[in-house]
Symmetry: C2
Subunit: 149 residues, 2 copies
DNA sequence: TGCGAAAATGATAGCGAGTCTCATAACTGC
DNA sequence: GCAGTTATGAGACTCGCTATCATTTTCGCA
C-alpha cells in the first residue's frame, strides 16, 4: 500500500497538454491546476472552489466545473464517485500510477491505497469482457480503525 | 463471469427481515421490494418509480427513496454509484453472492460481472488496511463491444 | 507593441436528484 | 372493530451541477 504524491511537474505537464490540445491558458484554469497539483488525494469541486477562495484567488464555480470537465476528458484528472452525490477529482500521473479509495461510512474520511495484483486482475477482467476499459474505480466502504473503536 | 439472477425468495426474505426489525409492511414498501426482486441488475430510484407507475401501482417518489434507504441500512439492497450523479440499487442476496459493473461511457449501458479472485483480493486489502469493510464497489468504465465498432 | 478574432471567465438562472415536512391513510396489537 | 403508531404521498425545498450570455483575456499576426 503506497502512493507517491503528485509531483509539481504534473501542473506543468498538464498545462502543456492543454496547449497541445489547442486550449488557451486563462487564470482560472491555471489556478485550479496548481491547486490540484498540491493535493495527494481527491477533492470535490466545492473544496477546490473554497481552497482557491481561501488563497484570495477567487474563481467562478462554473469555471471550476469547466476546467475539471476538460481535464477529465483529456484524462489528466480522474473523476470518481465515493457516494454522497458529490464527484471528486484527482490528478492522473503520466506514469499511469494510480490508486483507489477506502471510505469510512461513519466519519466520511477518504484514504488512498494501491495494489498491483488488483490492477492486474482488473485489466484481465476488462479484456475478458470485451470492453476497452479506460478507467476503473474501486471503492471499499466500511469503518476505519478510528471509528471502529 | 456469471451471476445467478435474484430469486423470488429474496422478496420474502426481505419482508421478513423488515418485520423482524420492527417495520410494518405497507403497500409502497412491498411494491418496491417486489419490483426489485424481479431485476437482475441495478436500477435507479427513478426507474423504480417509472416501473411501478407503468404497472399501475403508483407510489410517491419520496416513498421509493425511503424504502431504498431502509433496505440499504439493513443491507438488503446494495446502493452503488456508476456515475452521472444517480444512485442505483440492487438486491443483496442472502448467499452473499454479488457482482460488479461495467459501464459503457458511450451508450450508458451497465453490465454485471463477478469474479472470485477479485473478491479475494479485495477482502485481503480491507484487512490489510485496518478497515472493517462491509461493502465494495468496482466499476470499470470504457467502451463496450458495440460502441467500439 | 498593438489589433482583432476566438476562447475563457464569472454571475446567474435553470435543471434534476434527492430530502424534508406534514396532513392523511394504512397497519397491527388488543 | 379501535386506538395508537407507522407508512404514505404531495409538494416545497436543498444542493450539486450545467447552460447561458455578456464581458474579459489570450494569442497569432502584422
Amino acid at each position: 500500500m503506497s502512493f507517491a504524491p503528485t509531483s509539481s511537474t504534473w501542473a506543468a505537464t498538464t498545462i502543456d497538454a492543454l496547449r497541445g490540445a489547442g486550449f488557451r491558458t486563462g487564470g482560472a484554469r491555471r489556478a485550479v491546476i496548481e491547486l490540484l497539483a498540491r493535493q495527494t488525494c481527491c477533492l470535490s469541486a466545492q473544496e477546490i472552489w473554497d481552497g482557491l477562495r481561501r488563497e484570495s484567488r477567487p474563481v467562478g464555480i462554473a469555471s471550476v466545473y469547466r476546467v475539471l470537465e476538460v481535464l477529465a476528458d483529456l484524462k489528466l484528472v480522474q473523476r470518481l464517485d465515493v457516494g454522497g452525490g458529490v464527484a471528486r477529482y484527482e490528478p492522473m500521473l503520466p506514469s499511469g500510477d494510480h490508486h483507489h479509495h477506502l471510505v469510512c461510512d461513519d466519519c466520511g474520511k477518504v484514504e488512498a491505497f494501491s495494489d498491483e495484483p488488483l490492477e492486474d486482475a482488473l485489466r484481465d477482467l476488462g479484456d475478458q469482457a470485451g470492453y476497452d476499459v479506460d478507467a476503473h474505480d474501486v471503492v471499499l466502504r466500511g469503518s476505519c480503525g478510528d471509528c471502529r473503536v
